[in-house]
């Protein structure tokens, strides 16, 4: 009997050992290309996505005067969205299932919030302080960018008199998708935008964006601030920040040197660019309005519009 007890206890011991290893055994990640982002580098990879985010609503451009459509083209539009926005129709979307002008900027907000939420779990120390601040600043800048984009299309213009009572946009500041959506006032909206850019400006140390202009720099912070103040009709400040931006980078392209016959006269990494965001449609470079009509090429926002460069008749894909 003693022998048997010994045998049982051996087996029991094995089981206990087995249980002990279990936790570690189950912590292995299921695939090498999937991860729960937790390091600064993993989080940075999210923000350098230029495909799913870095997009701005197209509605402003579609209803703007930078291009025109003939009546025949206008009536032959494939999506009612295109024709409705061109004539400032009261119902733009006509019940369309997906509103990219709203959805995509909020996707960028989610990306920024995931980074900001998860950064809180990363310890900022002497070794990583620079990268940490850079990443946090970028996330704040990009969130502010989307909030500002949304406010331009989906909220009334800023009026200092009524800003506290005018309705703005929902300001989501957490990645938790179960958090309720509440619409903030115009004042809160612009306060949030200015606060985020302001903090981004303190965190981002880089003066000029070194590659391609897709990461914000001090120049883009000032440029962005100038633009926000411009829409708030605070012209002195707008002028001040525009000056700061130009103080860092004031390169000009001589448009006479550009080929007006090229399909894409200006690429995204041209000399004037200080930050880039493309329109929410599928092709980031060419905005195809119609297969027979015209396409407009939209690039970095701080550009003078010249029809020869930016508006081109559509010939072939």
């Amino acid at each position: 009997m003693k022998k048997k007890i010994l045998e049982y206890s051996k087996i029991l011991l094995l089981c206990v050992l087995f249980m002990g290893c279990k936790k570690e055994f189950l912590e292995k990640k299921p695939a090498s290309n999937i991860s729960v982002p937790s390091t600064i580098e993993e989080l940075r990879l999210l923000l350098i996505n230029t495909v799913d985010i870095r997009r701005s609503p197209a509605l402003g451009e579609l209803s703007g005067d930078d291009y025109y459509m003939e009546k025949a083209e206008w009536s032959g539009q494939f999506l009612p969205y295109f024709s409705n926005s061109y004539v400032w129709s009261s119902d733009i979307y006509q019940g369309a299932a997906s509103v990219l002008d709203w959805n995509t900027p909020y996707t960028q907000v989610l990306y920024a919030n995931v980074v900001l939420d998860r950064l809180k779990k990363v310890e900022r120390n002497g070794g990583n302080a620079e990268a940490y601040d850079e990443l946090k600043g970028t996330a704040l800048f990009m969130r502010a960018w989307s909030f500002f984009d949304l406010a331009q299309v989906f909220a009334v213009p800023y009026d200092a008199q009524t800003a506290a009572t005018d309705l703005g946009i929902p300001l989501r500041e957490t990645a938790d998708i179960d958090a309720p959506t509440v619409r903030a006032s115009i004042k809160d909206t612009y306060d949030r935008i200015l606060a985020d850019i302001g903090e981004a400006g303190r965190l981002i140390r880089i003066e000029k964006s070194p590659i391609n202009g897709y990461m914000p720099s001090k120049a883009s912070v000032y440029g962005f601030l100038s633009r926000v103040y411009l829409t708030m009709r605070e012209y002195p400040r707008a002028s001040l920040y525009a000056d700061s931006a130009l103080g860092i980078k004031a390169t000009l392209i001589n448009y006479n040197t550009l080929s007006t016959s090229a399909t894409v006269p200006l690429t995204t990494d041209h000399a004037e660019s200080i930050y880039q965001s493309t329109l929410v449609t599928a092709n980031p470079l060419v905005y195809v309005v119609t297969s027979q009509g015209y396409s407009i090429v939209i690039r970095c926002f701080m550009q003078a519009i010249r029809r020869m460069i930016f508006v081109k008749p559509f010939t072939s894909r």
């Binding site: 089981c15 292995k28 729960v36 230029t50 997906s98 996707t107 989610l110 998708i177 959506t181």
Partner: protein
């Protein structure tokens, strides 16, 4: 027999030692063993080790593999030497020897009868001649002789040591032997199981001739349906095989396959069907829930053959040859050449091709359009053009395709096995060889299997040790061309017999002049491509399995089992420089400078793609089993155990440019974006690099118990808890166990039961939960980084693939099963009725979510499904005597229904075109239609919109109001089964299987002008010919007029209307097996134990079908139905 023994004792260990010393010779040796020394063959198939190293591009890995293989071979060799030494068990001399001979009433020997000494633990089986020899028998002992089909008999041992002839009397009532079903965890006597099982034995599995083991389940397994047409009709996430219908939406839809007690993670084609002893299909919760989170779609338990202790060596050999007819390409809907030319002329006149003709990208034009163009530009006369076009109109590409692309199937299959055992040891060694030439020219499949197992008993037979190994090498060549050529009138051969070039991708006149002769030839000759295709997949798979079982007390044992499975697949595609792909690729990346200098960015030479998939799975299980009878009435069996499992994969691929046998050309610029010829679009040179590692881990705890009282009442219960690295800690902690309970009542054993006509009657009921998992989801926020796709600055970036979902959990499938088993007198009729209801809960479904959160749709546990059905199995013995006739009827119903789904189809169009877009209350895969309202007077189709005929197609299709949508029925047949008849007369046996499928629907392909205009001609010519042409035609036809420009919504309104719906109901003569058993003297002839020859015909065709269009409802999406095959074979036992 001696030769065989010699082979086992001497030859095999030698062979394995040889292999162990030179492991890289394994494939060669196997080839030698299998094909003889056909050097030619070996050289053409097997790269030498230098080449091999080059392919792997990783010498180190290869070395490691060699070492591993060497070790394996050594282990295997040792395993084989040990058993062969004590193999002479029954000839050992000792005192108290008693011998005898077991015979039946007509004095024929009874082999394998059990001879037991009462009161002692001594027993032996009689040999082929009925002889037995027992040791340690004393005078006065009693021998108990038993054998299936005979009544037990007792004989006393007298003075003599030779008992002489002992005669057993045949027992006709005992013909039903106790069936043991395997759950992969334990062996359960069927009479005591409460769950739902289907058991297929070797005989049934051998009825069909096939390379793949799963094919042999078709038509003989109750409740198992093979879903054809899964590609287009079902949309995403289809399953080719389902047990009792479908009960998941986005998670894994396939049944779990268990081979030798562990989930099989390898390639099912690596299993040799001749090595399989039995297959059990576990259908309900009581049977399957022991497999927990993997069991939601049912479980198929495959058990390989093992040796039997105390039997003389048995050799089994089988060989068969299958010849298949050439595929019939003429059954599939296809527009005729003359009709298509008519369309092209129509389009040409309308100016459809003008933009293509002038396009700066120079897209391809058909030969007929080129002729029309030459006529228009005055290069040829109208007479000439009419003649040239007339020549084309008389062509039919299908005759060339049938001749050059397809051929007869020729499959060869051989298998050889040796098995047997001594007193405390048994062994099995099997080898198999398959060589298949498939119906596509230049496609083939070769397979070599070697496997063996040993079981030893130690420590007074209390310790059992089993080891087994399986080695498979598959060699697949995928060189056939199956792409249908766009134009129905093309010829593959020129008049002079050379291989013809066909219009492909670009206009020939343009690309021919583009490079001033400095570019590579840009023409496409299909038959040259076919001849030069070089696409080979080789898969080497091995599996090692070991079990240690110790009987602690009588009826109580503990066991540890471990299995290692490694599959190494190498896919190699070589595009030599003569291939269109290579020439095109090099030309596209040729840069022409303004000075006319040509620079090739992609070097001349071949392009080689390598892909390597390594998968390793390891399983470890510890288990206690208890099986004890208390008193006369109580029977308790239980198991309790724990297991850990890891399935890891590693896949990598690369591409070499400028490849030749000597090596690859130097570096290629992968980072630059270049303007490509001839279209002047921009692109990058593909690096072809990829790398992915996956690892799924599970830890599970399980237990079950069954208690039987008085052989009449059985109660069963099981529970299992799974934890996995897929879901993270929170879900694992919250996970509730999957469980089952069941009960059965054998009424016929009750004292009050007097109904003699039905001597066996039993009720069963079970309830429980099975699980399922969607590996693509995670409770935490996850990102995916793809090293191939780059952002605008050229660096890899991450995509948010999963928003956080802390509520994520296993899918649970609750099942109720009610069963009734019965048997009439003399087994005239026996059968099973089973009713089941499956409720899938917490199924992964898509729901819409406030897009302000940053995501628009959300995948989570939000859907429910229900499947209800019936499985009936009836075995009848219609005629018994000299001529035997028995039938097996299988009848199953499985109707699924989505009961909760939070995202309804956004538009009518989405519901019609398939994909996964379920509507609550209907099957997951349903056919919907618009209500047809006839053609209007201008030949436009009309469908009902809010009850009125309408031609506002876009309004109907983009409407979200589903009331204009008509539900027709399921895509997959909810009613299916088969009727098998077996006739025996003397040594002849014929078995005919008729299968049927009822209740499903499909769409007649209709006619889509938009598709025809772009060259897709898979429509029935009769539709085209009967289209509306003149006012008034609407009275006689439903086919809309041809209009220009085509209107995709107008096409859709017709093609998705209810007049094109056909019923899928059909009855098919599946197969016939005719066999002859040679009458051998009882107890075996000198050479053979048994000998059978057979012929088998498969896919005989449809006997009856509701649809009269000649379309086979099972092969709608394929170019042709499975061709009829004829097999001839032999099975011999030595």
């Amino acid at each position: 027999m001696k030769k065989i023994r010699y082979f086992i004792v001497r030859a095999l260990p030698c062979l394995f030692f040889k292999l162990a010393q030179k492991p890289d010779n394994i494939p060669k040796l196997l080839f030698e063993l299998s094909f003889g020394k056909d050097k030619q063959f070996m050289q053409s198939r097997e790269p030498d080790s230098n080449q091999l190293a080059e392919l792997c591009k990783d010498e180190l890995r290869l070395q490691k593999l060699k070492r591993k293989m060497g070790l394996c071979c050594l282990i295997i060799a040792i395993m084989f030497i040990i058993p062969c030494i004590p193999n002479e068990a029954h000839s050992q001399e000792s005192s108290g020897l008693v011998k005898g001979k077991v015979l039946d009433e007509s004095k024929r020997a009874i082999p394998s009868a059990t001879v037991r000494v009462l009161g002692k633990k001594i027993f032996i089986l009689s040999d082929i001649q009925g002889n037995f020899l027992l040791q340690n028998v004393s005078r006065g002992d009693t021998l108990l002789l038993s054998c299936v089909g005979f009544k037990d008999a007792k004989f006393g041992v007298g003075n003599g040591d030779d008992l002489g002839e002992l005669v057993l009397v045949q027992d006709n009532t005992q013909l039903m032997d106790v069936e043991i079903v395997s759950t992969g965890y334990q062996q359960v006597p069927r009479e005591r199981a409460t769950g739902s099982f289907v058991q297929l034995d070797t005989k049934l599995l051998n009825r069909r001739v096939s390379t793949n083991i799963l094919d042999r389940l078709e038509g003989v397994t109750s409740g198992l349906s093979f879903n054809r047409n899964t590609i287009s009709s079902n949309g995403s996430n289809p399953s080719s095989l389902s047990v009792r219908g479908r009960s998941t939406i986005f998670a894994n839809p396939n049944p779990l396959i268990v081979v030798d007690n562990f989930p099989f993670s390898g390639d099912i084609s690596a299993i040799n069907p001749n090595d399989i002893a039995s297959i059990t299909v576990l259908k309900d919760a009581a049977a399957a829930s022991i497999w927990g989170a993997l069991s939601g779609n049912g479980v198929i338990v495959i058990t390989t053959k093992k040796g039997t202790m105390g039997t003389a060596p048995k050799v089994d050999f089988s060989a068969n040859l299958t010849i298949g007819e050439r595929p019939d390409l003429y059954k599939a809907p296809r527009l005729s050449a003359s009709s298509f030319i008519e369309v092209e002329k129509f389009l040409f006149d309308k100016g459809y091709y003008n933009s293509r003709i002038t396009s700066s990208t120079h897209p391809v034009l058909s030969p007929v359009v080129e002729i029309l163009l030459r006529r228009r530009s005055g290069q040829i006369s109208s007479l000439d053009s009419a003649k040239l076009i007339g020549d084309y109109a008389g062509n039919d590409t299908r005759s060339d395709l049938a001749e050059y692309y397809y051929r007869n199937v020729v499959n060869q299959q051989y298998s050889l096995s040796v098995s047997g055992g001594a007193d405390s040891h048994s062994y099995y060694l099997g080898a198999g060889l398959d060589r298949n030439l498939t119906s596509l020219e230049r496609n083939s499949f070769d397979r070599i299997n070697i496997n063996g197992s040993n079981t030893f008993l130690f420590a007074k037979k209390r310790l059992e040790w089993t080891t087994a190994f399986y080695y498979t090498r598959n060699h697949t060549e995928n060189n056939g061309l199956s792409a249908t050529l766009g134009y129905p009138y093309l010829k593959l051969k020129n008049a002079d017999g050379s291989n013809a070039s066909i219009p492909y991708q670009y206009r020939k006149p343009y690309v021919d002049t583009l490079g001033n002769g400095k570019l590579l030839d840009w023409s496409y000759r299909p038959l040259d491509e076919l001849a030069q295709n070089d696409n080979v997949t080789s898969l080497t798979e091995y599996r090692l399995n070991t079990l240690l079982k110790y009987t602690i007390l009588r009826g109580f044992d503990a066991s540890v089992q471990y299995q290692y499975n490694e599959g190494n697949g190498i896919l190699r595609t070589l595009y030599n420089q003569d291939r269109f792909y290579t020439r095109d690729y090099i030309n596209r990346f040729t840069q022409i400078s303004s000075g006319g200098v040509y620079t090739r960015l992609v070097p001349l030479g071949a392009i080689l793609d390598n892909r390597n998939n390594l998968s390793v799975s390891q399983n470890l299980r510890g288990q206690f089993a208890f099986n004890q009878k208390f008193g006369k009435q109580h029977d308790l069996s239980a198991i309790l155990g724990m297991e850990a499992r890891e399935v890891s994969g590693n896949s990598a691929s690369n591409r070499l440019y400028g490849y030749s046998e000597v090596g690859a050309a130097g570096a290629v610029n992968y980072l630059g974006t270049f303007v490509m010829l001839p279209t002047n679009s921009t692109g990058m040179i593909e690096s072809g690099l990829s790398q992915l590692q996956t690892s799924n881990r599970f830890v599970s705890t399980f237990a079950n118990a069954a208690y039987t009282y008085a052989d009449r009442y059985t109660l069963s219960a099981s529970a299992r808890k799974d934890e996995s690295n897929v879901f993270g800690a929170t879900t694992n902690q919250k996970g509730i166990p999957l469980w089952s309970v069941g009960a059965s009542w054998q009424i016929s054993s009750e004292p009050f039961y007097q109904f003699e006509e039905i001597p066996y009657l039993r009720f069963r009921i079970t309830r429980g939960y099975q699980g399922n998992v969607d590996n693509s989801l995670s409770p935490q926020v996850t990102v995916t980084t793809n090293p191939i796709s780059l952002n605008t600055a050229g660096s890899p970036y991450s995509v948010l693939s999963n928003p956080p979902n802390p509520e994520l959990r296993w899918e649970r499938i609750g099942m109720i099963n009610l069963g009734l088993d019965f048997r009439f007198r003399e087994n005239r009729v026996q059968g099973t009725f089973e009713f089941f209801s499956k409720n899938g809960r917490d199924l992964i479904g898509i729901s819409t979510i406030d897009p302000t959160t940053g995501v628009q749709t959300f995948k989570g546990n939000s859907a429910n499904m229900n499947v209800r059905g019936l499985d009936v199995t009836l075995n009848t013995r219609n005629l018994v005597g000299k001529f035997n006739w028995s039938s097996v009827l299988l009848f199953s119903i499985a109707r699924d229904r989505v009961t909760k789904y939070l995202l309804s189809p956004p538009t009518i169009s989405a519901a019609l075109t398939g994909g996964i877009s379920p509507i609550e209350g209907n099957p997951l895969y349903s056919i919907y239609a618009l209500e047809w309202a006839g053609l209007n007077t201008s030949g436009n189709p009309q469908v009902l919109l809010n009850g009125l005929p309408s031609t506002n197609y876009s309004a109907i299709l983009s409407s979200a109001d589903l009331s204009n949508l008509k539900y027709i029925g399921p895509v997959n047949p909810p009613v299916f089964g088969s009727l098998r008849n077996d006739f025996d007369c003397g040594n002849w046996n014929i078995s005919i299987n008729i299968s049927y499928k009822f209740g499903n629907y499909f769409r007649n392909p209709g006619l889509g002008y938009g598709n025809i205009f772009t060259g897709n001609i898979s429509y029935m010519d009769s539709q085209y010919l009967s289209r509306w042409k003149n006012p008034g035609d609407e009275a006689i036809t439903d086919v809309p007029s041809m209009i220009y420009p085509a209107n995709a919504n107008r096409d859709m309104a017709y093609n998705y209307s209810d007049i094109l719906i056909e019923r899928g109901d059909h009855i098919r003569l599946q197969d016939i097996n005719l066999s002859y058993d040679f009458a051998l003297p009882k107890g075996g002839s000198k050479l053979f134990r048994s000998l059978r020859i057979f012929t088998y015909v498969n896919n005989l065709g449809i006997l009856w079908s509701v649809n009269k269009l000649g379309l086979d409802p099972d092969y709608l999406t394929s170019a042709f139905a499975n061709p009829r095959t004829y097999a001839f074979g032999i099975r011999a036992g030595l």
